[in-house]
């Protein structure tokens, strides 16, 4: 069952275009979204969150068009970015107290559990946290309202190897519970460890969309790692 479908999504900027991006994500699968800086990963994610206006195409979640069902869909999805911090001068406690009021399925117990797991102190302010802790902070909010879908823009950036490992374990557990995860990353070794599918974007176009094993078989050479495949594909695209 497809949870998210993008059909011919187009967005034109003066210096960059997203060209007919189409893909779908299956329930309970982890999809790694790879591509070099400026390839269109963040633009695609912004389109999926209705932060930008499309010049063409349609996005739907759970079979519902995003534009007509935005509120309902946002109740059921979670988002996290590894690069932006919200309300740097407010305590985590304040941010959580306010945010929970927007979600009908907010779970205080889950929130406490993830807070403990991520080693977060609710009295701290985002400005006092390291980049890695900020990522965890965003994830905490995304995970505490029972999201069926997680859209994560570079969630493992800035995390130490131990924290990354913990996070990947959380993703695997969520997947077991039927949560669909899309995460963009440059750390391809993370995808080798937990992704079911690979989505590869280059110059605003989806160049590959396949199960990880199929992707490795189709585009890789024997003994090549995902990173090596990714680098070679990028070089070939450049030619």
């Amino acid at each position: 069952m497809n949870i998210i479908t993008l059909e011919n999504v187009c967005k034109n900027y003066p210096a960059f275009s997203l060209k007919n991006v189409s893909f779908s994500l299956e329930k309970g699968k982890i999809t790694g979204f790879i591509g070099r800086n400026g390839a269109g990963k963040t633009t695609t994610i912004k389109a999926m969150l209705n932060l930008i206006h499309l010049d063409g195409g349609e996005i739907s979640y759970f079979g519902l068009p995003l534009l007509k069902n935005e509120n309902e869909i946002k109740q059921r999805i979670g988002y996290s970015t590894g690069t932006v911090s919200w309300y740097p001068r407010r305590t985590l406690h304040d941010i959580i107290e306010v945010t929970k009021g927007f979600y009908r399925n907010w779970n205080d117990e889950e929130c406490r559990r993830y807070m403990e797991l991520f080693g977060l102190d609710e009295n701290k302010k985002p400005m006092e946290l390291s980049e890695g802790m900020k990522v965890k902070c965003n994830l905490l909010i995304a995970l505490s309202h029972g999201s069926e879908v997680l859209i994560l823009d570079e969630p493992t950036s800035g995390l130490d190897p131990f924290s990354r490992d913990e996070l990947l374990e959380v993703f695997r557990q969520l997947k077991e519970n039927g949560v669909t995860i899309l995460f963009s990353t440059h750390i391809t070794s993370d995808l080798e460890r937990c992704a079911d599918n690979i989505l590869y974007i280059s110059h605003g176009e989806i160049r590959a969309d396949a199960a990880k094993s199929e992707f490795m078989e189709r585009y890789g050479k024997p003994d090549e790692t995902l990173e090596e495949i990714f680098l070679r594909m990028e070089r070939e695209n450049k030619k």
């Binding site: 912004k46 932060l51 001068r89 009021g101």
Partner: protein, 216 residues
Amino acid sequence: MKALMKKEIRLSASVLTYIFIVAGAMTLIPGYPVLCGAFFVTLGIFYSFQNAREANDIVYTILLPIAKRDVVKGKFIFSIMIEMAGFLVMAVLTILRMTVFSEAAPYRENALMNANPFFLGMALIIFGLFNLVFIAGFFKTAYKFTPFVSYIIATFLTIGIAETAHHIPNLSPVNAFGTEHLGLQLILLSAGAAIYAILTIIGYKTSCRRFEIIDL
């Protein structure tokens, strides 16, 4: 809406916004352009917009399960709430000047505007200008503050006209003391309230339309 207002008050607002409500008390300063008090109340609201931009508040809010126009609605309701708090301070002190201090020399010997219902009506027009010129201008980009410069120009022109209007022949009743020309004064206040409502509604609708089409 309750959750949205809680967010505006606890996360988005700057503490300066609340402090600047006290600027409404400038109504009591003798020989001072009292209408500037209304400007300072809006300056306080501006600090909250600044605070919100630095905290990535607009994007955070839009990612919450609410419609895009609700982001605009939250900012407008918060601004109106602060404006009304400032107006309340000005209204109470104006009543004080119209009654207890109606004959006080420092207020009588004043080349500038007197605090009366016309003054309150003009204060509402300044709040309306803030909602139309600044807020609607801000939602064109959701990050640029240049509309605040246009608002300052529009406001100080309005203040200049209102503070000196009574020197124009036949316009002296706008500067009434105590309960003089009360009927006219109340009509002027009602006109100010109507203009405030119109400017705010146009500002809100323009903001919604502009915010709906921008990319974040």
